[in-house]
């Protein structure tokens, strides 16, 4: 600061300070909005990609029967790339897997995953905990600070006599209240991400009774943690099979969410479920199935699998 500036009258200082504050705020505002616009454009372009068609093609390719001499080198490459634990697989001889699709849905040896009986809720699958916690005001977090809505994820509560069938007319908080939970109860959630090398079958995390399935034939965006941090509401866009029912403590739901190249979901007690088909549906479309007789699902029992495709 030179001598002249030091002796500027107070009024001029105030004007300069105000000008500086205004200027920096404007620059920050413009940068923020430019970033937001660029991000929106990137997300829109990403969602326009033909990821479902590409995944179906990948699935079909991986169902081709490999010549026996190629099975070991090709599958070994996959195992090396994604860090699979071959020693845990029920079948360790790679020549027995006709293709990558079969290896992807491999079974494990019966003793490598003991079920913890000391806990009421156990992990349904191998993977990484993406996020967990209480559901507050009908909003869930896919990763810290990035949210999606419960009503968008589950859809109208037609599996029970909810007051509102049109969920667009109620708030997220009202939607959660309509779940009719007991007064001393809360709603919780947990997201488990399965990486490409993980065991891709999943099991029941507790004893519960299944009443209803809702299939959202959405998109097949990647669900890796990086994308989950990037796209708000990611899980409400993707194809998913939502199973709802009850457990000892009230409402319970388990949802299998598909992803790029892994959009083919099979549920052992629900043969009608067909995922990643060629049919086109409007955004938000869903198909319901009410199980005529409720299905008792035992803790640790095999529930379903993700497949390539």
């Amino acid at each position: 600061m030179n001598v002249q500036e030091r002796h500027l009258p107070k009024k001029k200082w105030k004007l300069r300070t105000l000008g500086l504050a205004f200027g920096s705020s404007t620059v920050a505002y413009l940068l923020y909005h430019q970033d937001a616009e660029v991000k929106n454009l990137e997300v829109t372009l990403y969602r326009k990609m033909p990821l479902k068609a590409m995944s179906r093609l990948w699935g079909r390719f991986n169902e081709l029967e490999l010549p026996i001499f190629l099975r070991r080198p090709l599958l070994s490459l996959y195992i090396w790339m994604f860090g699979c634990r071959l020693d845990e697989a029920e079948v360790e001889d790679l020549r027995h897997y006709r293709n990558l699709g079969e290896f992807f849905r491999r079974q494990l040896k019966p003793d490598v995953r003991p079920i913890d009986d000391n806990y009421v809720l156990t992990s349904p699958s191998d993977g990484k905990i993406l996020h967990y916690g209480r559901v507050e005001n009908g909003i869930l977090e896919q990763v810290k600070g990035v949210t999606y809505s419960l009503r968008g994820f589950l859809g109208p509560q037609t599996w029970r006599d909810a007051k509102s069938t049109n969920i667009n007319h109620i708030s997220d908080t009202e939607y959660q209240e309509e779940l009719g939970m007991q007064p001393d109860h809360d709603l919780f959630h947990c997201i488990i991400y399965l990486a490409p090398g993980d065991y891709h079958r999943f099991h029941s995390p507790t004893n519960w009774v299944l009443h209803h399935r809702r299939h959202f034939p959405g998109e097949l965006l990647s669900v890796n943690p990086g994308i989950a941090r990037w796209i708000q509401g990611l899980f409400n866009f993707n194809e998913r099979a939502v199973y709802t029912g009850t457990w000892d403590h009230g409402f319970f739901s388990m949802c299998a969410v598909g992803a790029t190249n892994v959009g083919s979901i099979k549920i052992y007690c629900d043969e009608d479920l067909k995922t990643n088909t060629r049919s086109k549906y409007p955004e938000g479309a869903y198909f319901d199935k009410v199980f005529q007789s409720s299905i008792q699902v035992a803790k640790g029992s095999m529930f379903g699998e993700f497949n390539l495709g």
């Binding site: 079920i115 992990s123 905990i129 994820f153 949802c255 969410v257």
Partner: protein
């Protein structure tokens, strides 16, 4: 691919995991 669990439980329910933790099927997720 991803599995999402959403469930009602008494307010005292506690998760036995942390964000980013690697987990295997059958391991403890939470308790009352």
């Amino acid at each position: 691919s991803t599995i999402v669990l959403i469930f009602e439980a008494p307010k005292g329910f506690q998760f036995k995991v942390h964000d980013g933790q690697k987990i295997r099927f059958g391991q403890a997720l939470g308790t009352l």
